[in-house]
């Protein structure tokens, strides 16, 4: 099994939740993949918490050829992270997409792809005992105060 990460999930896990170390440990049991387009998006913008060093320690970056059948769903924008994540998963049946946004999740469901989100990854880290119950509570607090948009439903799941 490998996980292929979208940009907002990456930012939530690394910046908002500060889970770089736990993810690195999780990477011993599963491949954590980020398309190069996701890396470029992650580095873009003016967020103070972005951390390329940790990003590179945690994720294996890959070049992805965008699947043409996905283009109409994304209004023919091949540059966004999600289309790259889903394209990768379409060609690699062992992959699980890590996407938080509702629209991207709908496309994954439409194409029958494995899917989780940053909350699912946090749960996996708990399951592997890579974060404690106390850390989990602190993560929930940080997610609530985050400047990133996370739906109420997802917040409830932590």
């Amino acid at each position: 099994m490998n996980y292929v990460f979208d940009t907002s999930a990456t930012a939530v896990l690394l910046e908002t939740c500060g889970l770089g170390q736990a993810l690195q440990a999780f990477g011993q049991t599963a491949d954590l993949i980020a398309p190069n387009r996701v890396k470029a998006e992650y580095m873009n913008g003016a967020r103070p918490g972005r951390d390329l060093e940790t990003f590179e320690r945690v994720f294996k970056t890959v070049d992805v050829a965008v699947a043409s059948e996905l283009l109409p769903y994304f209004n023919f924008d091949s540059e966004c992270g999600e289309i790259n994540v889903i394209s990768y998963a379409l060609r690699n049946s062992e992959s699980c997409c890590v996407i938080d946004e509702g629209f991207g999740r709908r496309i994954c469901a439409l194409f029958g792809l494995r899917l989780t989100g940053s909350i699912g990854i946090i749960k996996e880290l708990c399951r592997h005992r890579l974060i404690s119950e106390e850390e989990r509570r602190s993560i929930r607090r940080r997610l609530r105060q985050s400047s990133f948009y996370i739906s109420k439903e997802l917040l409830h799941e932590v």
């Binding site: 998006e41 967020r47 966004c80 509702g102 709908r106 985050s146 948009y149």
Partner: protein, 189 residues
């Protein structure tokens, strides 16, 4: 005896109407009003990148007289009925849909279902705005586009929250960085 040949359902516009009305939207409803039916089938054709139905740019964006005429024919044939402003299949219509499904490609059915789930519960303004942005040339003769473009911010946010568009599309339509769009949404949480 076959409903497909009896009612001329080999014609794409009739077949897509019957199929569109047999599929569930996100709330489990099958019925739809004329504007939503028009846009669902146009979005479906956009997704499959294959045009089999004539659409023209009119006051409400791209609409098809061919579809309207086919809908009338289906009503007269007793396959479709209206309840208020919504149209729905009759028992005969549902049987015709069951005949159509196996002769329609799985990919087309999947795309049509997706189009209905994405669009059928949108408000009229959200629906028109989405289609104008998706197919910019459909704004040409529109009487509604200027009014809706003035409400871009509100409508884009609604479409994003309803999971009809991605943050990347939302940001592009609002001409702002994606991270700024997401940050602005979190402040309204």
């Amino acid at each position: 005896m076959s409903a497909i040949t009896d009612y001329g359902l080999e014609t794409p516009s009739r077949a897509f109407l019957v199929l569109a009305l047999c599929l569930d939207d996100r709330k489990g409803r099958k019925s739809a009003d004329i504007l939503h039916i028009q846009k669902i089938i146009r979005y479906f054709e956009y997704l499959r990148q294959k045009r089999e139905i004539d659409y023209s740019n009119f006051k409400l964006g791209q609409v098809s007289y061919e579809l309207e005429e086919s809908l009338r024919t289906l009503q007269e044939s007793g396959l479709v009925t209206n309840v208020g402003t919504n149209f729905q299949l009759t028992d005969d219509g549902r049987m015709a849909a069951e005949e159509l499904k196996p002769v329609t490609s799985a990919d087309d059915l999947r795309k049509l279902a997706f189009a209905k789930q994405q669009l059928n519960d949108l408000s009229r303004d959200e629906l028109l705005f989405f289609m104008y942005k998706l197919i910019p040339e459909s704004q040409v003769n529109s009487t509604e586009a200027p009014r809706l473009m003035n409400r871009s911010r509100e409508l884009v946010e609604a479409l994003y929250r309803k999971e009809v568009i991605s943050a990347a599309m939302a940001a592009k339509w609002l001409e702002m960085p994606e991270s700024d769009f997401l940050t602005s949404l979190s402040k309204k949480r």
